[in-house]
């Protein structure tokens, strides 16, 4: 495996606030990489620099061999992007939204095939603003796949979704990885990172404070003598919820 995203000593400040304080890491080709951290840790800034939406003050950001700072347009053509708030122009149908983004990337796609991939083919003719939150997140992923990206950036993809929609999205992300696309996601849901990510980096106050596979991080914590003050349950409330309401995706 080789690195598809390389970040070296990246720094970014907004006025007095040092949002990113010289971070370095690699993302390997084909993995699902999670950038974790509380709100304001610098995750979104880091991702937006990698997406070519922001300029770093210093340091390197290389995606698929392209220096994002120097050639943002070339880098943008290689990556897929889902921003934290996925919003699209109004009065476009789901299908037209995919076509719009294909046009933005200068590629031709089969919009219906892409919508089918994210399980939205029966919503193709519906205005995107009428879609539910989960549907819009999936449409957002469809638009992020129009250019067959080498790396897919997902910024808090499951925030605000119900448990069914979250699980549905996880399956979708796993499927995308199966097809060879590297996935770089940010989240502050630890359960999500634990089940989805091959490796995670934990970020706080603009710095990366830990980076490893989730299991290794947990093992290391236990090795330091950590014990949970509560009894390990065989199931939790979410399991109850899903048992009662089913895994079936809810839309309306």
């Amino acid at each position: 495996m080789s690195a598809i995203v390389t970040v070296r000593d990246l720094k970014k400040r907004y006025g007095d606030i040092e949002a990113v304080r010289g971070i370095s890491f690699d993302v390997q080709q084909g993995e699902i990489f999670g950038l974790l951290g509380p709100n304001g840790a610098g995750k979104t800034t880091t991702v937006e620099i990698l997406e070519g939406l922001r300029k770093a003050d210093s340091g390197d950001a290389i995606v698929d061999g392209i220096d994002v700072q120097k050639q943002p347009a070339r880098a943008k053509a290689r990556v897929g992007v889902q921003l934290q708030q996925s919003a699209f122009p109004e009065n476009f149908t789901a299908k037209e939204t995919v076509e719009l983004f294909a046009l933005c990337y200068g590629v031709t796609v089969d919009p219906l095939a892409l919508l089918k991939q994210v399980d939205l083919e029966d919503r193709a003719g519906q205005r995107q603003e009428k879609l539910s939150g989960g549907q819009r997140q999936r449409l957002s992923i469809a638009t992020a796949l129009v250019n067959k990206p080498r790396v897919l950036f997902l910024d808090e993809p499951t925030t605000g979704l119900d448990p069914q929609a979250r699980r549905n999205l996880w399956e979708l992300v796993r499927g995308i990885r199966q097809s060879g696309t590297t996935v770089f996601l940010t989240t502050h849901y630890m359960d999500e990172a634990e089940v989805l990510c091959d490796r995670v980096a934990v970020m706080d106050h603009g710095q990366i404070i830990a980076m490893d596979p989730p299991r290794a991080l947990i093992t290391a914590l236990l090795g330091r003598g950590f014990t949970k003050p509560v009894i390990q349950q065989q199931a939790n409330l979410e399991d109850v919820f899903l048992d009662l309401t089913g895994h079936e995706l809810r839309e309306d």
């Binding site: 939406l53 300029k55 992007v81 919003a87 009065n91 046009l103 990337y105 200068g106």
Partner: protein
Amino acid sequence: MRTLRLTLMYFRAYLRDRTAIFFSLVVPLMLLLIFGSLNLGAFGQVTVAIDDQADTAASQQFVAALQKIDTLSTKKESTDAALPRLKRTELDMLLVIPKDFAIAPTRAGQPVPTLTIFGNASRPQQVSVGESIVNEVVTRLSFAVNQAAPVVSVKEEEVQGVRLRYVDFLVPGILGVNVMQLAVFSVAFALVADKRRGVLRRIMATPLRPATFLVSQVVTRLIMATLQVLIMIGVAVFLFDVHPLGGILPLLLVCLLGSVLFLTIGFALAGWAETENQVPAIAQLITLPQFFFSGVFFSKEAAPALIRPLTDLLPLTYLNDALREISVQGATLWDVRMQLLGLVVWTAIGLALAVRFFRFDRF
């Protein structure tokens, strides 16, 4: 090609937006229909009540002569009835023909019948026009009686603009104001919403060049402006019998130049505003003074003299002046070059503001 397809996509979306269509087409048409059908047609007319107290052949001849004059809208009415109407400014003037009225030769020193005119002080222009017409008629009748040839003969030449109906005056102003409203509001509202919701940011995460996106937005609005202008001119021609003397194409071209100008202001506003709530306040601040001081519904001369030097420099004043001269006076684009220059200067200012405030790297 990419720009064209992007424009068509956005135009299709625009046509689906009922609110936008309402404000782009329905509201302008309502303005035109309401103001066009208001009976402000007496704009170039003087309404005169005539109290013929003599009621003789001579006085009837005099009244008949006055009634033949198009500029006067006459009505026989007693002084008692007419004076209150004059006070309510329903009349411009009241002409009282005395009992001793006669059209007869007079000798020097002999008293002559005296016509009395009550003028509406709030309509001095109309009153002075009415007075001079009455004087003119009196003079002509005197000549006829004295059997003397006039010392000076006046040949009447009809001048375009003199018999201007209100709707002829109105249509260019309505075109101008709607071009302004469409450009400022359609861009500002749509793009502030797209900015705040992160739509622009998402588009900027693609390799699409900002210029391509901007052109698609501008051209979409220019197509809408063209539609709007053509529909309004169509209604003006077929419903109100307005005939733009300088031709429809020059009107359209000037409207499009005006659209570009106000689009730059719309983009500057969209770039500056953080939320949609800020848009109407600032947009009204920009457009409302021009609504009233730039000669839309009434002459720009109505602006207070103190601020006239400023109101003459407003972008909409240049636009309306150019449109009105083309429509009413049959001016060519070359004739209105100074107004067009004014529009170009404002466009340059607007463009500088748009570039300053509408920053893709900040979205």
